[in-house]
Symmetry: C2
Subunit: 162 residues, 2 copies
């Protein structure tokens, strides 16, 4: 019998189809805007930026423009536990530093990005590409977070049977 | 032709199947252990608990045992911006307080929980049930977070074509 238009019998199980569908979603279509600060930015100003921009992590760049580190809410909280003046500590001191930063590219799948976040136990990944002025460095062009994944999960769950 | 064992032609699109599959996942099967503190716990001790327990939010309970509020990393960061002594501020002052707390139950779907987190712009939900000693109050029995959802997303994406 000929299948109805739009449907076809693929010989695959439902779980395989779902896995394939999820692995067709790409970082480039879901990334959000990165929020960056300089290494010299104070912990105090970084905390203000977290609130003003309503994000969970900041990406830290060198003045030249390439990725230098990532500073999370937890890095900032830890910094506040000391007795120092927050306006005098630069984020460069409390951030996680390259090359110990997990990143993803526009061409990666969301599935891959989600797996990296789980493995590295981080809440966000900078989306990067080679830095034009020095290809050994990385330029930050976006951000993927657990919020991105949760939003996509809701969108996928919204597909109702007609 | 008879379909191979284990496969069948359902007449539904892949996206519909994916949506249905996602809406079959329940909070009760994916919740993790809640980490709770008392209203009287100091902001300093709450921050220590965040690090020791490796979580993003704490659920705050009354001494009697029922849910009173939620305190996030951002609530704690905000508290550190003041000039007060963190050991003398109770979390009860900086937390989000009932009834302004979004919760879910064991019988909710993960899809529903994820939608609630997106709508309320929170990173975690307490899983609750009526408090045995006072059914007007809620007892915390678990936790669902954006990390839970990201982990499930990875599991769904792992279903490979054989």
């Amino acid at each position: 019998a000929r299948p109805r238009v739009g449907y076809f019998y693929s010989g695959k199980s439902t779980n395989q189809l779902l896995g394939e569908q999820i692995r067709k979603l790409y970082v480039k279509d879901y990334k959000s805007r990165p929020v960056v600060v300089y290494e010299e930015t104070s912990v105090y100003d970084a905390i203000c930026t977290i609130f003003l921009e309503d994000v969970g992590s900041l990406f830290v760049v060198k003045k030249a423009g390439y990725l230098s580190g990532v500073v999370s809410r937890k890095d900032l909280l830890k910094a506040t536990m000391g007795k120092q003046d927050l306006t005098s500590i630069p984020v460069g001191i409390v951030m996680s530093r390259m090359p110990n930063i997990v990143t993803c590219t526009l061409e990666d799948t969301l599935y891959h990005a989600a797996k990296l976040m789980m493995r590295a136990q981080v809440d966000s990944l900078p989306v990067v590409r080679p830095f034009s002025e020095d290809p050994a460095q990385l330029e930050v062009i976006g951000r993927i977070t657990k919020t991105t994944i949760t939003k996509v999960f809701v969108e996928l769950g919204e597909n109702m049977t007609l």
